[in-house]
């Protein structure tokens, strides 16, 4: 065939021209995304106008006109001065530790390092030994942190040890009696209870041991330290309670279910402020004469009760997401309720709710700022307290202090929310095929 005679058939591709300049590069992107219609152009202009209105003055105030050095208000009351960073600079130690004694602050730092040493391997999914890390975080670290921060050496009377021993013996006797009456082997349950009793006694013994650390009363704690203590104790304490409540709410036993539902709905239905008021005003009334809790401990109890209700709802979500087959399979294997929960259901359910737990923690972390209302000095509390320092009172001091505190809270919350989103994507991928 003679192809050469058919003039209109191409034998090679037409030369490619570059796309029009209005469709590529920055110009093309801007035309497509920002100015592709009249309405969109108006929106873009309005948006840029808002930015132009807000950003330059903010940058000016925050950085350019800001006062970075100085040791009193004189530096910051200058006409046209911006943010008073000198104030934050001078008070930084207080913002972090409160009035914790200067020479003892290494203990706070060490506690922080211990926490990070546990959190980082726990948070990175690829690191092995998850079970050990979590055990470290919820058993070893709290005890070590308690001893380091307060100084340990708790005054536990001989009478307490006697009562504890007597109660332990009674408990063991009851377990043995039940086992004998029920005609089941005695050794294993007894050993389990004895282990628990000894473990708790060991915790008390460590708390009572004198490590030679100076006692630092919680009145002196403050700043970011209190914020973190309240948030972490709240979340760690609420975790087991929340799991029990979630299981209780899904229980087949009517009394247990009713109690769990009432407990959860009660705490979820009231604001945290009233809970804190309750724990600071009402709790002392509920205790026998002479027993007195420290203010921080009272706030911690309130926060933990409040958080456990939210945690219970998160865990319940996880329990409901586990398919019925898993429960049936656990039963079919002849596992008891607690075995089935411990070995089959909870490991799956808790993994599913990690993002939910992180979100609860973010909420709790922000809510810790409320303790300033009952007179504890968390980060926000100590920042506002320092506004009344006559040495630093200037028109820009409050705004600077608030922005500093906001920035610290923001870093924590934003970081955690990104982590929770990352975990969510990861978990999601595991389920998609």
């Amino acid at each position: 065939m003679d192809t050469g005679s058919v003039a209109y058939v191409r034998t090679e591709d037409a030369p490619q021209y570059a796309p029009p300049s209005t469709k590529t590069g920055a110009v093309g992107w801007i035309r497509d995304n920002l100015f592709d219609s009249v309405a969109n152009s108006i929106l873009t202009i309005v948006g840029i106008a808002i930015l132009a209105l807000i950003v330059p003055p903010v940058i000016n105030w925050l950085f350019i006109d800001a006062v970075y050095t100085g040791d009193s208000r004189d530096a910051c009351v200058v006409e046209g001065a911006g943010a008073c960073w000198a104030f934050v600079n001078a008070k930084f130690g207080q913002f972090m530790y409160g009035r914790y004694p200067l020479e003892e602050r290494w203990r706070v730092d060490l506690t922080g390092i211990l926490l990070i040493a546990g959190l980082v391997p726990a948070a990175i999914p690829q690191v092995p030994f998850k079970r050990e890390t979590v055990l470290y975080l919820i058993v070893v670290f709290p005890i070590a942190g308690f001893v380091l921060l307060t100084g340990g050496n708790v005054d536990i009377s001989a009478g307490f040890w006697m009562t504890y021993a007597a109660l332990s013996v009674i408990l063991l006797a009851i377990v043995a009696a039940v086992c004998v009456n029920a005609k089941i082997p005695v050794v294993r349950p007894l050993a389990g209870v004895a282990f628990g009793v000894v473990a708790v006694a060991l915790v008390f013994a460590i708390a009572a041991f004198d490590f030679g650390l100076v006692y630092v009363e919680t009145q002196l704690w403050g700043g970011l330290l209190v914020t973190l203590v309240v948030a972490i104790v709240g979340i760690v304490a609420s975790f087991p309670v929340g799991i029990v409540l979630a299981l209780g709410r899904r229980s087949h036993l009517p009394a247990v279910r009713l109690i769990s539902v009432i407990f959860i709905e009660f705490w979820r239905g009231v604001p945290l402020i009233t809970v804190l008021f309750m724990s600071s005003v009402m709790l002392p009334l509920f205790l026998p004469d002479g027993v007195n809790f420290d203010k921080l401990l009272r706030a911690l109890i309130g926060v933990a009760l409040f958080a456990s209700a939210y945690m219970a709802e998160v865990v319940r979500g996880g329990l409901q997401a586990i398919s019925k087959g898993q429960y049936e399979a656990a039963d079919a294997m002849g596992l008891s309720y607690s075995q089935g929960m411990r070995l089959i259901i909870l490991p799956q359910a808790l993994k599913l709710v990690i993002p939910g737990i992180v979100n609860t923690f973010i909420g709790l972390f922000k809510d810790t700022s409320l303790v300033l209302i009952i007179g504890l000095f968390d980060l926000l509390g100590i920042v506002t307290l320092n506004f009344s320092d006559a040495n630093w009172s200037s028109p820009n001091t409050p705004a600077t202090g608030f922005i500093f505190a906001a920035f610290v809270f923001w870093i924590f919350c934003f970081g955690m929310s990104r982590y929770s989103m990352y975990m969510e994507r990861r978990l999601h991928r595991g389920h998609a095929r």
Binding site: N33, L34, D36, N40, L43, T44, G47, I48, I50, L51, V178, C179, A182, K183, I184, P185, H252, L253, P254, A255, V256, I259, E265, F266, R268, G269, V270, P271, L272, I273, T274, F277, M278, V281, M282, L285, F286, L287, P288, D289, I362, K366, D367, S369, L370, L372, I373, L380, T384, F387, P395, P398, A399, F402, A406, F409, W410, C413, F414, S417
Partner: protein
């Protein structure tokens, strides 16, 4: 169940030889008994301690204090109140103030939240990033900090009354608050209110009729536009027909402060700003998630049926998105209401500040006061969730 014979736990599967320990019914009963007994024991212990402690401190119990004279002033009262009024009146003032700030806050937060939520999905890069900036900043900073910021760093550094800002004629903004002209109704102004109510009722009726007719015949009726016109025009018409019976009383600077006019306290403004801006960030995320939850297939199906983009949005996307949006939205409304209790930190007289603060300090009856405060919030929360459950059942997808 027959009495236990000589069997031990190794024959647990054997019905006749099973120990009572493995009988689920027995275990259930015993376990519940133990739980209830422990709970009753703890509650009894607390109650006994509270009783002895209160007696020792000489604090009265019961609700008798409600009828005593309060003796303190409240800065914002919507129900008549003087310091001669009873504690019960003070309680009511606080409750009304809480409900006021919560309802206005919900309104503003919803409007801002929906705008920001839609903006986060905008095709426009600048708008999308602005919305994201708003959400990420406001959502990750504690509400209390934001409230204190608005109150102490923004509103209290406003100029004094003599140098008031005047954004509109008759409207003044200074460190004592926002001063608006007061609306004074002359005789006959009540009719305008009735006209408004009638217009709302009519709009509601028209929309029901239009829906019924569309279901029956397929004919459409612009009920939204007609309804809105009615609601705006009817009161306006009444206003002019009755001879404009409404006066505006402008505030005037007298000495160091303004006299007359309607004053919005800085505490109220700070609380309203903080609550609504903070909650709006969460609502924006809910709205965004709700719209994204409507699968793309739904939009494509609507397009292939020949619906125009606006009708698709109106008939396909929004109704399905609302089903996802409403439940978390309600819980945000509840959060806003509960968060309004932070008013105590900036001195806005809500129920916590007035009742669980001042009244508690004056009477010392912590148990009664805190329980009543909690019950108020519980009532609001539980009735809202009851309503939500009902609504959810109504709109839930009916699946096979």
């Amino acid at each position: 169940m027959t009495p236990v014979s000589s069997a031990s736990g190794e024959h647990a599967g054997d019905e006749a030889g099973t120990s009572w320990f493995y009988n689920p019914r027995v275990r259930g009963v015993v376990f519940q008994f133990l739980v209830v007994a422990a709970l009753v024991g703890v509650v009894a212990f607390f109650a006994y301690n509270a009783k002895t402690n209160l007696e020792r401190a000489g604090i009265a119990s019961g609700l008798g204090f409600f009828s005593e004279r309060a003796g303190f002033d409240i800065s914002q009262t919507l129900v008549p109140y003087t310091n001669d009024s009873t504690y019960f009146r003070a309680f009511l003032v606080g409750l009304v103030n809480t409900l006021l700030v919560a309802s206005i806050g919900i309104l503003i937060a919803t409007v801002i939240g929906f705008i920001v939520g839609v903006a986060r999905l905008s095709k426009n890069f600048v708008i999308r990033q602005l919305a994201q900036l708003y959400v990420e900043i406001l959502r990750n900073v504690p509400l209390l900090l934001q409230l204190l910021f608005w109150y102490k760093a923004v509103l209290s550094v406003l100029p004094s009354p003599r140098q008031s800002l005047e954004p509109m004629s008759g409207v003044f903004l200074n460190n004592r608050g926002l001063i608006l002209p007061e609306v004074i109704g002359q005789p006959g102004s009540g009719l305008i209110g009735y006209a408004l109510l009638a217009a709302i009722a009519a709009a509601f009726g028209i929309s029901r009729w239009a829906r019924a007719r569309q279901l029956a015949t397929g004919k459409q009726f612009p009920s939204l536009i007609v309804g809105l016109c009615l609601i705006v025009l009817l009161p306006l018409l009444t206003f002019f027909v009755t001879g404009m019976p409404v006066d505006l009383a402008y505030a005037e600077l007298k000495g160091f402060n303004f006299a007359g006019g309607m004053v919005v306290n800085p505490e109220f403004m700070a609380l309203l700003l903080g609550l609504s801006l903070y909650t709006a960030a969460f609502i924006a995320e809910i709205v965004r998630a709700g719209i994204l939850a409507v699968s793309h297939g739904q939009t494509e199906a609507a397009f292939s049926l020949g619906l125009r983009p606006r009708r698709t949005l109106q008939l396909v996307v929004i109704p399905q998105a609302m089903r996802v949006i409403i439940p978390p939205l309600t819980s945000q409304y509840l959060n806003l209401t509960k968060n309004s209790s932070l008013a105590v930190a900036i001195g806005y007289p809500d129920i916590v500040a007035v009742f669980a603060g001042t009244v508690l300090n004056q009477t010392g009856q912590a148990v009664e006061v805190i329980i009543i405060t909690m019950l108020v919030y519980l009532t609001i929360s539980l009735s809202t969730s009851a309503f939500m459950n009902w609504y959810n059942r109504r709109v839930a997808l009916v699946e096979r």
